[in-house]
Amino acid sequence: MLVDILSWVCLMLGSLLGIIGGIGLHRFPDFYTRLHAAGTTDTLCAALFLLGLGLQIGVALASLKLLLIFLFIYLTSPTASHSLANAAMIGGLKPVLGK
C-alpha cells in the first residue's frame, strides 16, 4: 500500500516534470536554451518514472532491467546533448545572450 502510494507519487511527479519540460521548450527563446529545458526531462523525469515503475514491480529481474535503462540514459544523454550543442555551434548558430 505504502509502496503503491510512493510509486504513484514518483510517476505523477515524473509526468509533471515532463510537461514542465515541454512548456520550457516553448517558452525559451533559442536552440541552446531549449536544450536546457529538455535537460530536465532527460534526467529527473526519466529517473522518477523508472523509480516509480520499479516500485510497482518490486524485487524482480524486470526492475534490474529498469535500472539498466536508467544507466544507459544517464550515460548517453549528456553525449547526445553535447553533440547537438557542438554541432549547432560549429554550424555557426549564435546563441541569444542575456545581460
Binding site: 517558452r27 530536465t40 550543442a85
Partner: protein, 158 residues
C-alpha cells in the same frame, strides 16, 4: 584483473537481460561472454579509459554527489521555466578544465552537460566552452566545487 571484472559484468548483463537458468543456456551465456571478451581484447578496447576499473569506488562516490547536483539544478531550471517573466539570461563562458587526465576532463564536461542549466559546447586542450541558462550557473561552476569532486585518474596523466 580488468579482464576478469569485464567478463563478470558482461555475464551479469547477459543474465539480467535473459533470465534463463537452464544449464544449456547458462553454458551458452558463458560461451558468448568468453567470445565477447576475447574479441574486445583483440580489438584493444578494454583499457583504462573505456573501463576505469581502478576508479570504481571514487566514481561511485562522485555519482552520488552528481545526483544531488542534478536534483538541485533541475529544481532551479523548473523555477525559471515557470516564472512569469522567463527568468533567464543565457551566457557563454570559457572555463579552465583543471583536471590532469583526459578521462577526468571528459567526466567533468559530461557532468556539466548532465546537470540541467549548463551545457558543454566544446572541450579542447584545457578549456571548456560552457553555455549556461543564467549567471548563477556560471558562478557555481567558477567556484569549482564540481571540478574538485571529479575523480582524478592519477595513473594516466596526459
Amino acid at each position: 584483473m580488468r579482464i576478469v571484472s569485464t567478463a563478470t559484468l558482461i555475464f551479469i548483463f547477459w543474465f539480467v537481460l535473459s533470465g534463463h537458468t537452464s544449464n544449456l543456456l547458462i553454458i551458452l551465456g558463458i560461451a558468448s561472454t568468453g567470445l565477447t571478451v576475447y574479441l574486445s581484447r583483440r580489438m584493444n578496447i578494454i583499457d583504462a579509459e573505456s573501463y576505469p576499473f581502478h576508479l570504481s569506488f571514487s566514481l561511485f562516490r562522485y555519482n552520488l554527489y552528481l545526483f544531488k547536483e542534478i536534483l538541485i539544478a533541475n529544481i532551479d531550471v523548473i523555477k525559471r521555466i515557470l516564472s512569469p517573466s522567463v527568468a533567464i539570461s543565457p551566457q557563454v563562458t570559457e572555463l579552465p578544465a583543471s583536471q590532469h587526465s583526459d578521462l577526468s576532463k571528459v567526466i567533468y564536461a559530461n557532468s556539466i552537460t548532465l546537470t540541467p542549466g549548463t551545457v558543454t559546447l566544446e572541450l579542447s586542450g584545457g578549456k571548456l566552452k560552457v553555455h549556461a541558462l543564467s549567471h548563477e550557473g556560471i558562478e557555481d561552476l567558477e567556484q569549482g566545487n564540481m571540478a574538485k569532486q571529479v575523480p582524478e585518474d592519477k595513473d594516466h596523466i596526459s
